[in-house]
């Protein structure tokens, strides 16, 4: 069995948001006290390395140490500058025209799982989460962001060019 501090680090690494001690204790099948001690251990273990343990209102997450902030900024700039891939543009178009829309609908339209794509677009600030759908499981709805509209030079979604109609199909008939 790996060390508790290593197990905590693995969990905090994959968590997208700060996690509370209770959730960590459940995942590790141990007590809140043990987790608390383990977090202290992890914090000192991380000293001198590139990551730090950050605590905010009893929720914990990993963050990069401040000395890496310039590197990180350059990487994010480089990522933001790289052009959107075709799949990303395709996903964005679906969200723009069909949004607010669930991941399941996007997946169905594209024929592939869109998790990574959605995360990427969210990170670039091009899409936002907008409430949940009135369906079983209340799935998250996605919509394009203000940033997206600004980047494509629109002031509102109404200005989107009309979607090519299915009539192009019937031309041949």
């Amino acid at each position: 069995m790996p060390e508790l501090s290593d197990r905590l680090m693995a969990l905090l690494f994959i968590a997208a948001e700060p996690v509370d001690i209770a959730s960590l204790a459940i995942a590790l099948e141990t007590t809140a006290e043990a987790v608390s001690g383990g977090l202290d251990g992890l914090a000192s273990q991380l000293e001198g390395g590139p990551l730090r343990l950050s605590r905010h209102h009893d929720r914990y997450c990993l963050v990069t140490a401040t000395e890496h902030s310039d590197d990180v900024r350059r990487l994010l700039q480089a990522e933001a500058k790289t052009e959107l891939s075709r799949p990303a543009m395709e996903t964005l178009a679906i969200i723009a025209y069909r949004g607010p829309v669930t991941k399941a609908s996007i997946d169905a339209l594209r024929g592939v799982a869109s998790d990574t794509m959605l995360r990427n677009l969210r990170q670039r600030g091009l899409i936002v989460e907008q409430g949940t759908a009135d369906e079983p499981g209340r799935p998250q709805l996605y919509a394009v962001s203000h940033t997206f509209l600004q980047q494509v030079g629109l002031t509102s979604l109404d200005q989107l060019p009309p979607l090519p109609g299915p009539e192009s199909q019937t031309n041949e008939a």
Partner: protein, 231 residues
Amino acid sequence: MTFSVSAPAFEGPLGLLLDLAEKGKIELTAISVSSITADYLERVSVMSDLEPDELSDFLRLGSRLLYIKSLALLPREAADEQAEELQRLTLELAEYRRYQQAARTLSGRLGAQTWNRSAVTKLPTEELPMPDLSLTILQEAFSRALKRAVPLAGGSTLDQELTQDEVMGRLKQRIETGGFALSEVLDAIIDRYEIILTFMALLELLKSGEAIVAQTGQFGPIMIEAAHARA
């Protein structure tokens, strides 16, 4: 949409043939092909839930087996062709078998996976969506404060010129300097008018995303903080 043949015993025709050969400890030879062909066709005939496409794949291999078998009935010249066909099928089976085994090894690894950060979109949480929660908490806190406060008295010394912008400015300043407990602010106000202004200003700040409401536990103090302090 079905992901695969429903709980199939065999990956496909080659899987079935391989299974028959291995169970019977038979090598594909000119002599054994006859009996294995019979077994094979019998098994295919009882596969009831095959889709037409899948059935045709099974039958294609069946007809190859029948062809090899039939060559034995022909004069000697056919023997070479039979040997060739047999060798081709044996090689295909051997190649197929390698991947079948590799697939079993990989299947055994399925439990222990690695995770990367981008695989995770959001932690499952039982919390209500943040805006609603904030609003409920705030509304409760403010209605308590309103009950305690005095209605605006005409001749009071209170600052009646107070505007929402001013209240907003004060709140922003406190947020920028590390946030505050809501009770600290509310307890200091005795005027209903100012409480209402404060409530509205806070709503504005929450809506614009400049501030967030945080509460530790169900009965902990309600904290108002800068949104970027969390990032």
